[in-house]
Symmetry: none
Subunit: 528 residues, 2 copies
């Protein structure tokens, strides 16, 4: 614990779970706790015990976790108005979770005391003080979340400070100032914290920001500059409305740019992996443009940028991507040169260096395909298959012979496929909810006996782009398919006037690429 240490309090499982589209199972929550412990956050807020049976079960099962770096916190409200803390159901639920830390939230904003919990300003202060004292007396470390602190401070600064004082005097270990509505500006946060610090010079202060102004990261950093040493946030910025402060951006900014320490040494390199793992468990579409950890975060497209990056990466990269476990990617587009090919053909660049004729052939083929409407910047797997072909190293794992589809306005679409696998011809069929689904299922059914690993592959995204709108429904179609094997994902592309033919091509390549990788034909897959 150096002077510069800032403790990270992760609330991915509690406040993050308020985000639209998120619904963790208990197993999901335990997985995320293990991953974040390994990553090294100081605290994890696991949920609100008593709020629902799932959180009760989570805290019960969490008791047997062997955590190395992190401590669990249970979250809940202060006691009800005009009640007694020791008799309060919420408070009893918090104690039953048996976590070393209990975090409670209380009201700082006089307007909220009046309109939301409908009690007097004095009783609200007693609710805070009583609850903190009781939890302390029961042997818990108590963190106090001052809900709506910044709005409350703008409305009635004296009352907002009184509410903090109630928690401080009752023995709260850390006082967290919450920008609950997410509307504060960095300057406002910094000024307010300076005032709070002058009033409570000995209190440990924390910050909890929401992203409603797209400023949660900046507000969190401003708070640290102003003296806060405890940060609440969420992995990948999930959370209610626009989400909470994104720890995947807060942590590297603090460690790489502001000279603060948040994690055990060496852990920052796990950031990208941990971010993607949490996203996979949460089962959300990843934000490719995410700072530091996104797939596009160090992806270069413009010709000028690519050639400069090839000479010195710092020309267009603000940090070394390896420092956060990410990597440089070069996107193939119509300005590409032979050196791009080498840079891009991941795991094959040595082979191309030894075989410049193959690199030139591949480049010529790419230009032709791009002219036809193919785009490889988001289809690295199709590109890698072309690269293997150019080197004469693409194994023939199976050969599509024919497909047919029937679709009607009633009943499910039906697909029939014929393939060759080795000397054997496989002929099978499947229904599906749509033609792509039917084709996908039929293809898998045909290949499964020969390649059982196919069960791990899942199509996770499917995009269609019409290339020449003026040709109306006769226009060429480009289909992108993204497939995951649970750890990594890859993209393929298909093009044609018939959307089904383009889809078939992209699906066939997505399966083939997964099988080639499993057969070690390609040394690296782009990490998801």
């Amino acid at each position: 614990m150096t002077e510069s240490f800032v403790e990270i309090y992760d609330t991915t499982l509690r406040d993050g779970a308020q985000g639209e589209g998120l619904a963790y199972t208990v197993e999901d929550k335990l997985k995320i706790v293990r991953a974040l412990d390994e990553f090294g956050v100081a605290y994890i807020e696991g949920g609100w015990p008593g709020a629902n049976p799932k959180d009760v079960e989570f805290f019960e099962r969490a008791k047997s976790l062997q955590l190395k770096n992190t401590r669990l916190a249970a979250f809940g409200s202060t006691r009800r108005a005009n009640g007694i803390a020791s008799d309060d159901a919420v408070v009893q639920g918090l104690l039953a979770a048996e976590t070393p830390i209990v975090t409670i939230f209380g009201k700082s904003w006089d307007f909220h005391v009046d309109i939301a919990i409908k009690t007097t300003l004095e009783e609200n202060l007693r609710m805070i003080a009583d609850t903190v004292s009781h939890l302390n007396a029961c042997g818990r470390r108590v963190f106090y979340d001052a809900e709506h602190f910044f709005d409350g401070f703008r409305a009635n600064s004296e009352y907002a400070l009184d509410s903090l004082n109630a928690a401080v005097q009752a023995g709260a270990e850390t006082i967290i100032l919450c920008d609950t509505n997410g509307g504060s500006l960095p300057e406002q946060v910094a000024e307010t914290i300076a005032l709070v610090r002058s009033r409570f010079p000995n209190a440990r202060l924390g910050i909890h920001c929401h992203n409603d102004g797209e400023l949660a990261v900046a507000n969190t950093l401003a708070a640290v500059e102003a003296g806060v040493t405890h940060i609440q946030g969420v992995f990948n910025g999930y959370g209610e409305r626009c989400g909470n402060a994104n720890l995947c951006s807060v942590i590297p900014n603090l460690e790489l740019k502001m000279g603060r320490q948040c994690l055990p040494p060496g852990k920052l390199k796990m950031l990208t992996h941990t971010s993607r793992y949490v996203n996979e468990v949460a089962n959300l579409v990843p934000n490719e443009r995410a700072a530091f950890v996104g797939r596009s975060a160090f992806a270069h497209k413009g010709g000028i940028h690519v050639s400069a990056v090839a000479r010195a990466k710092e020309t267009y990269e603000h940090i070394h991507p390896e420092d956060v476990g990410n990597e440089t990617r070069v996107l193939i587009s119509d300005q590409s040169g032979v050196s791009n090919i080498r840079f891009k053909a991941d795991g094959l660049s040595e082979d191309f260096q030894k075989n410049p004729a193959a690199a030139r052939d591949l480049l010529a083929q790419l230009k032709t395909l791009e002219h036809e409407g193919y785009q490889f910047e988001d289809a690295e797997a199709s590109f890698q298959l072309l690269a293997l072909s150019a080197l004469g190293r693409r194994k023939k794992l199976f050969e599509p012979v024919e497909y047919r589809i029937w679709i009607g306005s009633s009943g499910d679409p039906e697909a029939i496929v014929r393939l060759k696998v080795g000397d054997e011809e496989v002929h099978t069929a499947s229904l599906g909810v749509g033609p792509a689904h039917a084709l996908d299922l039929a293809l898998r059914k045909a290949l499964l006996p020969h390649y059982p690993q196919i069960t791990r592959f899942h199509l996770i995204d499917y995009k269609v782009r019409i290339l020449d709108g003026e040709k109306a429904t006769a226009a060429k179609t480009r289909v992108h398919v993204e497939t995951s094997d649970g750890e990594r994902s890859w993209n393929t592309v298909g093009v044609g006037e018939n959307i089904i033919a383009a889809t078939w091509q992209a699906i066939v390549e997505s399966i083939e690429y997964g099988l080639q990788v499993n057969g070690q034909e390609i040394k690296n897959v782009m990490p998801q």
Copy 2:
């Protein structure tokens, strides 16, 4: 132009187009220009004329646009090292675009002069000065983008300032400081700008930020606090790597929180619509959590929040969502919803005012359909058909009975359709290059004898979006179809797990809408 005015320079079509997965057609670019002009940004950077045939065609076609609020800028580099500006191909391309503004970028970072453009520090200054002077002499207003200014200033502040001085002395109207690698912190931006202002007290300064630290919005706001009055950014924050400063967050923060004016009065309410329209045209998965404009931005999930919001929306909302054209998502049947219906139902608003029950029915139906995945932001024609139905005024022009399609890996897809037109049943078939084409042709063939005006309708765009990627090829699909009759165009939407069923729905509605309009059933079509 008040003291507090900050001009918005939109580069969605140029720097934004560097984003992964983005590939605008010329038609897309023209659509976005019209939408942003209507919204009221001061400047639009349309592209780099000469860099590729697409941008040349764009500027050629843009010459005939009648713009009300915005002025077009062409973007490019300074002349090459040791060349002559008037002979330089890039500079000639910029002039050929015939835009009132030309924006050129030059190098501020000594390291880049050396490693990227490989010339002397002195020649780099001459490249800047010559190019600005020549463009000025040719009657252009010149904006100067100081690429990598903040990195350059950290490395060699005197040289970075000298590079600005070259542009200022040569007559550049605005000097834009670019955080090209996106790694600066707000404090660094503010301090640097203060120094630049003291050196160039009379220059108009601008800011151009990238989001590599998730700080582009904060850096942009910090720059405005420090005295900058010109902001470059991108709608929805598209752009290379992590994207550019997101104008959808920058603008409302400035207007609603910082007392600055960026847009003509009353335009801020179009923010959400414009954001979603641009996203539809770009055909990207929308960011539901986006600040201000996301579908989740004012969506309340937690029980405590929902009940508090029901009592007073400011309990958990930092602004009034209507101020940016967005809405709270828990108040299903509030008045603003019904008045929204009246606002959206173009040409029918008087009818809805007379028939509030129909407005409420339509609202309820919309909520259900949106829950199923429909989105009417860019499907006004489907919305208008629903509105006609709610008013009991949708004429039954034809009734689809059945369709069937055969698709195979060889031969063209074949579609068979059965329709009722009046008492007559029409049964016909067509081949097509793809299933949508075959369906479209068969439908037209069936309707042509009864509605000859159908020959004027052309499908001009067709888009497909997968709604729930985690369901793989079984995911729900949303199809958008755009149709033109040569003068006007309209958009329809279809949703379903079967892409063909969704396509059929969108095509049928596109034809029906065109026929309803020709029959004067609807007074206005949304302008393209």
